[in-house]
Subunit: 148 residues, 2 copies
DNA sequence: CTTCTTGCAAAGCTTTTGCAGCACG
DNA sequence: CGTGCTGCAAAAGCTTTGCAAGAAG
């Protein structure tokens, strides 16, 4: 069976890029932390554990490359660093985020809740939507429970 | 009649901050460019036209202060700079944005289109929503028309 | 006086870039 | 060989901070 890495390798090849050991190590870290929202520095430190010789610049370059190929999405929650999020395979749109203003946790909503809204926006504002970013700021279920 | 500046002055006072000449000049620039999405540097240059002695750090400090008081919202469209957007008076939530991937224009949607979605999120994910950020990326009506 | 605010310069951070060397066909 | 990729260090932004001086009550 074809693995996720293999498919990413093909995506790279079809744009004439190689899956070098450094790039593979970076992608593996992203796969192992799919639930998280790692910054470039986070990724760098994790890659370094297994491939200590990698440079931070290479991580940045790889993340930029993966963003360009739409394998990952670059997001910004307003804390001064960019974070990188593996896109669901075959997902047309970017998923949504729930950012907790108390504990800082970031949860994901994979479901697309914006279909109706997008229809309205396309018609009423005559805007051809290609992608979206939706983040809710509030209090997560864990922090709500904690207060009781 | 009470002006917008007066009301902002009161908001500052009620948190024991002063509306200094520098702060007032900064707020005026924001009011005059309500439609735009100015970066700190943009604001600095515009304020400088009328108050040449102002320092960039003061503009940053003022924008931070206004963000804290929820008079402006700090946004990030992923281009490496923070932008500042005056909040509609009395608006409970942040408005939405349409970012054109061809010409870079940013249009605003003042209407709140997320009421239904928020209800679903609060119930299904047990998340207490305090605010949201919604940005659509796509092609604006101007660029669509241009192609015809 | 006392407290808050400012301007300047320096420092801090994240991210990008230049370049020589390496890898691999 | 040639092209692409990497690591390192330097550079380049954007933003924050330290500090002495200034403003305001």
């Amino acid at each position: 069976m074809e693995s996720r890495i293999d498919r990413i390798k093909k995506q790279l090849h079809s744009s004439s890029y190689k899956l070098t050991p450094q790039r593979e190590a970076t992608v593996r870290v992203l796969l192992e932390h799919e639930e998280d929202h790692l910054s470039a520095e986070d990724v760098y430190l994790l890659v370094k554990e297994k491939s200590p010789e990698i440079g931070l610049a290479t991580v940045y370059r790889t993340l930029e490359l993966l963003t360009e190929l739409k394998i990952v999405d670059k997001i910004n929650f307003g804390d001064g660093v960019s974070r990188y999020d593996l896109r669901q395979e075959g997902a047309a749109h970017f998923h949504h985020h729930l950012v907790c203003i108390e504990c800082g946790a970031v949860d994901e909503i994979q479901e697309d809740l914006l279909e109706d809204v997008e229809e309205v926006v396309e018609k009423r504002w005559h805007f051809k939507i290609k992608d979206h970013r939706l983040t809710f700021h509030g209090i997560c279920y864990r922090c709500q429970d904690k207060k009781k």
